[in-house]
Structure formats: C-alpha cells, structure tokens
C-alpha cells in the first residue's frame, strides 16, 4: 500500500526561526513529490519535485527531493506568522497515478 509519512506532526516556533519539515514516501510507480500549504481552506500548491538533488525555491521556502532515500524536506527561513498553516506532502504515482497525502505538519509561528 502506498504510504507517505510526515514529521513532525506539529511544530511551534518564533518569528524569524528557520524550520525543516520532513516527508518520506513509499509509492509504486513514483512520478513526483508535491508540497501544499493548507490554511483554513483548500490546499494551495507550493512545489512539485521530480528530480533528485535539485532544490526548488520560492522566496523563503525551498524544497529538495532524494529519490534514493525516498524523502523530501521543506525549509522555511525567517518564518512569519503568516506561515502558520498545515503543510501537506503528497507523492504522485501508484497504479492509477494518484496523490497519496501524508497527515501534514501543523506549523505555528508565534510573534
């Protein structure tokens, strides 16, 4: 069965801190790894990673994929209160090319 595991499940930091969120996966026919941010509404797309070792960056957020060790990390530098959200990791693949999501990491950034 396809599986995605995220850690930690929750994290509380102060503004300005740097955080690293982890995601490991076991998915047949793996094609890509996606990160989403979910506030009190629908998940919004952050990154899609398909190649190992190539960092994707958007402002203070960056992510990298390791296809040999089957994991990905999402880094957020200089955190702000607006970064408070659930961060979801999802692996795309499987027999019918579908997204398998992890449980998410709840990030709380305190002022």
């Amino acid at each position: 069965e396809d599986k995605v595991v995220q850690s930690p499940l929750s994290l509380v930091v102060h503004e300005g801190d740097t955080v690293t969120l982890n995601c490991s996966y076991e998915v047949t026919n793996f094609r890509s790894l996606l990160w989403y941010k979910q506030e009190k509404k629908a998940p919004t797309f952050l990154f899609m990673l398909t190649s190992s070792g190539i960092e994707k960056k958007s402002g203070r957020l960056s992510s990298i994929l390791d296809k040999k060790e089957l994991f990905s990390i999402l880094n957020i530098t200089a955190t702000q209160t607006g970064d408070s959200a659930v961060y979801l990791c999802a692996a795309y693949g499987g027999s019918n090319y579908k997204l398998t999501f992890g449980k998410g990491t709840l990030l709380t950034v305190n002022p």
Binding site: Y36, M48, L88, N96, F101
Partner: protein
C-alpha cells in the same frame, strides 16, 4: 482564471439522511478528483475521473457513496445514508494533465449529527 468551485460550503445533516455536493472544475481540466479530509488527516482520494470516465474509485465506499461527472465537466458526490464517521471536509480538485499538479476547491464541510 476562475478556480475550482464547490457548493455548498457547509452542510449539517442527521445520520441516515442523504446529502449531495457539487463541483465545477477549472475550464479545460480533464481530470477531476474527490477527496475526503477528516480532521487531523491528509486528504484521502475517493474517486478520480478522466473526462467523464472513472479512473479510480477503489477507496469509495460504494454502499453509500456515489459520484458522477456530467458531460465531462461538473461533478456531484452523494452520500446516502450518511453515518457519523462521514463528518469531514470534502475537497474537489482538478488537473489539466497527469503530472500530479492538482488545484483544489474550497471544500464542503459536512457535519453528521
């Protein structure tokens, strides 16, 4: 570009009642997904459509859940009869291709009493 539309946004029903949710995907997106997200969990795929055909419904509880995609555009998801454990947010997503990128609607929060 308009996003994925869903209605209603909230619904409260009693157990054993029926309920239906509606989704209008982004124009031109061939693939449409329905997910169930229980509090504290990631979204779980219920059903995937490619145009108006079902690609994957392996996790859809078919004794009570049904879904259709009309003319390959709008979709409805129905629950009949509802159980307490169906309380969740039901998310609809669409994708223009099969590279994994999906765009989510605002969701319908269902509470079953």
């Amino acid at each position: 570009e308009a996003g994925v539309a869903q209605s209603p946004r909230y619904k409260i029903i009693e157990k054993r009642q029926s309920v239906a949710f509606w989704c209008n995907p982004i124009s031109g997106h061939a693939t449409l997904y329905w997910y169930q997200q229980i509090l504290g969990q990631g979204p779980k795929l219920l059903i995937q459509f490619q145009n108006n055909g079902v690609v994957d419904d392996s996790q859809l509880p078919k004794d009570r859940f049904s879904a259709e995609r009309l003319k390959g555009v709008d979709s409805t998801l129905k629950i009949q009869p509802a159980k307490l454990e169906d309380s969740a947010v039901y998310l609809c997503a669409s994708s223009p291709n099969r590279d994994g990128t999906q765009y989510f609607g605002p969701g319908t929060r269902l509470t079953v009493l």
